[in-house]
């Protein structure tokens, strides 16, 4: 290890997580939880310090360990450090949260969760440092393994095992794709570091193959549609702080990988690369939020929103690739910065939302929001945190979600500068769909927050709910602070991103991504400017003025509590309230073409006349048709092949001997004209 200062932090990081893992195995009870949480927190903090040093001082930190086949090589450069920051923030919050969350859950669950939480954090921290294919793939698989066991932490949960299997299967397929990618690239050589890959000359077809394999491999990890199938299954069943990590950080490793490979190592490519990524991103963003709207399972809803936000990030990456192809480095840098910034922001607010959802689930023992309601009075702090998270993910200023999407809008608006008009006209479509998805996200979170926290409890569970313990609140409010801070401070973050992007080949002009006196500028040469702090300040100022004026001029304020009016209804019961389903109904109708819902309506009429209806039963289900069209046929095909192959083993020894002789004769003749 070089760079004395950073070395210590790295050592702490490498020691703390394993300690936590071991402690989880041996120490029971509150003490055990405390040690595990503390170890995870310390490790994350160390990670943050390390990343901060590398980001500040730009010099990569190196290290290597002996290993079979080739030494494991680690190297933390600013790009990796940025993702290490993401890991550290969410990891720290999640580990604080885990202390209170674990109280009352059985020892087996605690053990699995504790061990794998620490291992996952370790894996995530090492992933962004891995500097050779072997290292990268090894850590990748270990990380997936830890996440797999986190999904399996409560195997008796319905669907948990199935979800875990899906998760690991798809992830492993992605691993295979990455394996093929790296070794097609290096021609089978165990390259000592990624930098060597950069030097390898690739001809067109092979480069395209490498790019596509990278897209598939990292896409499965990031969960872009249509490779998302595991995500809405796996994330809900994991313990909530684990879901927060998986949704907030693990997905981002896909983003990291894609940035590392396509921007750092592979170099500029044809235009269709960018368009493909942009298209995938757009589709994921839109379908993700549309399916989220249809969910009643709070955590499932959040999982689908992860797909949406990953889609937004991929839109940024795609735009960046396009701009780089058309040699618009500054715009490319802007789009990339937007994507990276959104990565960080999404990590914060999505983790916050998952932690909040976890608090709700822990208090009410149900994930179905149709059974919730009125929690804002019973768990006010959680409600506030969740509200902030919802506002952030709905891209409301002055929170962080808005800041990054603003940058993305700006870069897409810059798409007007693309010389090829046929490509340029795609940009406004992207802009429109991005806006649509953000609007739908707002609608979805009005539903999520409103039905869960507002109005009257819809079930005894919700009535019996209690506020989450302090440690969990601490975890949540840390992230609230992060959301607000990142929302107000893009002027501080963007130049940082500019510096680290400027280190990528061909994007040196990114150093020009500056932010003049607190105002966030789309580009040095115009294209819009805004200042989140100023906006926030303006809002506060106006609020103060309004308050003062009202106090001064308006007549004294009188308030009376009464029953809900509701156009003069007398009695109010929970069943009269709007449900999540009815809330989403208009949008379900509007987008029926996309949902392809399955509907069946049965009307039971009076025997005498069909005008007297006795009962009407209406059932409608929205099943993601991507699965119907893609995965079910695939599975059916494989199963069929399996059955056909098993026919070979028909049981007759004569047949078997016949196989042998056939093989013999065939090989004898093959051997004749084989060189």
């Amino acid at each position: 290890m070089n760079a004395g200062g950073a070395e210590i932090w790295l050592r702490i990081l490498l020691v703390a997580f394993p300690i936590g893992a071991v402690a989880a195995l041996v120490v029971r009870g509150a003490l055990g939880r405390a040690i595990v949480a503390a170890a995870a927190a310390v490790g994350s903090a160390a990670g943050f310090a390390l990343a901060a040093m590398v980001l500040g001082w730009g010099e990569p930190v190196r290290g290597s360990f002996a290993f079979p086949l080739a030494p494991l090589v680690f190297r933390l450069d600013p790009l990796g450090a940025f993702f290490l920051v993401v890991t550290a923030i969410v990891g720290f919050a999640a580990s604080l949260y885990s202390f209170g969350y674990g109280a009352g859950s059985p020892w087996r669950v605690l053990r699995t969760t504790g061990v794998n939480l620490n291992l996952l954090l370790l894996g995530l921290s090492l992933q962004v440092m891995a500097d050779s294919p072997l290292t990268f793939l090894l850590v990748w698989e270990l990380m997936s393994l830890a996440a797999y066991f986190l999904v399996l932490a409560e195997p008796d949960e319905p669907g948990a095992v199935n979800a875990a299997t899906w998760y690991f299967g798809v992830t492993h397929a992605g691993f295979a794709a990455l394996f093929a990618m790296f070794f097609l690239w290096s021609g089978g050589a165990l390259t000592a570091s990624f930098v060597e890959l950069r030097a390898v000359p690739l001809d067109g077809a092979l480069r395209d193959a490498v790019f596509l394999l990278a897209l598939v491999g990292f896409g499965t990890k990031a969960g872009i549609i249509p490779l998302h199938i595991w995500l809405p299954r796996a994330h809900p069943v994991a313990p909530s702080h684990a879901s927060a990590l998986m949704s907030g950080v693990v997905l981002k490793m896909g983003v990291y990988g894609l940035v590392r490979v396509t921007f750092d190592l592979l170099g500029s490519g044809p235009a269709w690369w960018g368009m493909l990524v942009l298209a995938l991103g757009t589709v994921s963003a839109l379908l993700g939020v549309l399916y989220a709207l249809m969910q009643h399972d709070l955590k499932r809803l959040l999982a689908y929103h992860s797909i949406e936000n990953i889609g937004i990030i991929f839109m940024g990456l795609g735009a960046a690739l396009l701009f780089r192809t058309y040699d618009l480095p500054l715009l490319s840098a802007l789009a990339l910065a937007a994507a990276l910034y959104h990565t960080l922001n999404h990590a914060c607010f999505k983790a916050l939302l998952f932690l909040g959802a976890g608090a709700v689930v822990r208090a009410t023992h149900t994930r179905n929001i149709e059974e919730l309601g009125g929690l804002i009075r019973r768990m006010p702090r959680t409600a506030f945190a969740f509200l902030i998270g919802s506002a952030a993910i709905s891209t409301l200023p002055p929170l962080n979600g808005f800041a990054s999407e603003w940058l993305l809008f700006q870069s897409l608006l810059g798409g007007a500068r693309i010389p090829a008009q046929s490509v340029a006209v795609l940009m406004p479509v992207g802009v429109g769909l991005l806006a649509l998805s953000s609007g739908l996200a707002a609608a979805c979170f009005v539903k999520a927050f409103g039905i869960t926290f507002l109005a009257i409890p819809r079930s005894p569970h919700a009535e019996a709910a209690e506020e989450a313990p302090r440690s969990m609140q601490a975890g949540m409010f840390l992230l609230v602070a992060a959301c607000v801070g990142l929302g107000l401070g893009p002027a501080f973050v963007v130049p940082l991103l500019g510096r680290l992007i400027a280190r990528l080949p061909g994007l040196e002009p990114a150093i020009g991504l500056h932010a003049a006196n607190g105002a966030l500028t789309g580009l040095p040469d115009g294209l819009g400017q805004m200042s989140p702090p100023a906006v926030a300040l303006g809002l506060v100022a106006v609020a103060v003025v309004v308050a003062v004026v009202l106090r001064a001029l308006a007549p004294p304020f009188r308030l009376r509590r009464g029953a809900t009016w509701g156009c003069g209804r007398l009695l109010q019961t929970p069943r009269m309230q709007y449900t999540a389903t009815s809330f989403a109904e208009p949008l379900r109708r509007v987008f029926a073409q996309l949902y392809r819902p399955t509907e069946d309506l049965t009307v039971e009429v009076h025997p005498d006349s069909e005008y007297f209806v006795r009962a009407i039963r209406y059932e409608s289900r929205v099943h993601p048709w991507v699965e119907r069209l893609l995965y079910q046929p695939l599975l059916a095909m494989v199963r069929g092949a399996g059955r056909r192959v098993r026919q070979m083993q028909a049981g007759s020894v004569h047949l078997y001997l016949a196989y042998m002789c056939a093989a013999l004769v065939v090989l004898l003749f093959v051997a004749r004209w084989l060189p």
Partner: protein, 313 residues
Amino acid sequence: MTSWLVELGQSTAALLMAPALVGLIRWLKARLQNRCGAPIWQPYFELHKLFAKEAVVSTNASWLFRAAPYVVFTSTVAITLVVPLMLVPLPFDGFADLLVVVYLLLLGTFFTALAGLDPGSPFGGMGSSRGMTVAALAEPTVAVAIFALASGAGSTNLGHIASRLIASPMAALTPGHLLAFASLFIVMLAEAGRLPIDNPATHLELTMIHEAMVLEYSGRYLALVEWASAVKLLIFFCLLANLFVPWGIATTVSAPALVLAAAALVIKLGMLCVAVAVLETRVAKLRLFRVPELLSVSFVLALLAVTSSFVLR
């Protein structure tokens, strides 16, 4: 320094002028329907009455229900600080651009919708559901219209857009510009809750959107909400007026220029009021599930606007 004063002055003026706009439209509609109609100042009387009345709040409602009106009012009023009314460029221009304006409006809608859900009345839920649907479906049009404006003017800041147009007035007549105007006009109808999307006058349970969301409000809360929606209408009018036909708007802080600008603004707003009033008397309210069709039309218009601006470049 004086420009700062102008800035604050004009937004205060806007704040005070907004109810009159609503009153004017009502009066015009009444005249068009051969009624004598209430005076233009009626909305002020209503606001005064509401401020004086005591507020009744549902026992189910939480702090959010009571905070929402202030949030909505504040965010809406804050917008007036950057909307060009009489003078460009404004000192606040650099702080917020068109996107900020749009998303601040979304912030208002977001909280209104939450407030609609809070008392637990079915009408509130219905209203917020529909309100969010319309708002979400309006977003893409707005964004693409902004794209058209920005790619024309090279910036998303309102001041720049306006001053660019002033620099080359004929650019206001390019097809892209006109198409964008049309699309944004439709969006205005949707966002400000005018016919044919929503009927501000109705309290017929099954047709209302915005009114359903704020059904449970009374007293000062209702006053703030109503006022905020009036200001919202004004903001949209100003955007339509001064981003697309910024003729007559003052570019220098001088008394004659400002007077001229004020006059121009009043004229433009008046024309828009007439347009809205005529429209609202001519068309009937759309069924809720026809609204998306209208909005998709506006989206297509906006896309055409952009593409034409590409083709013509």
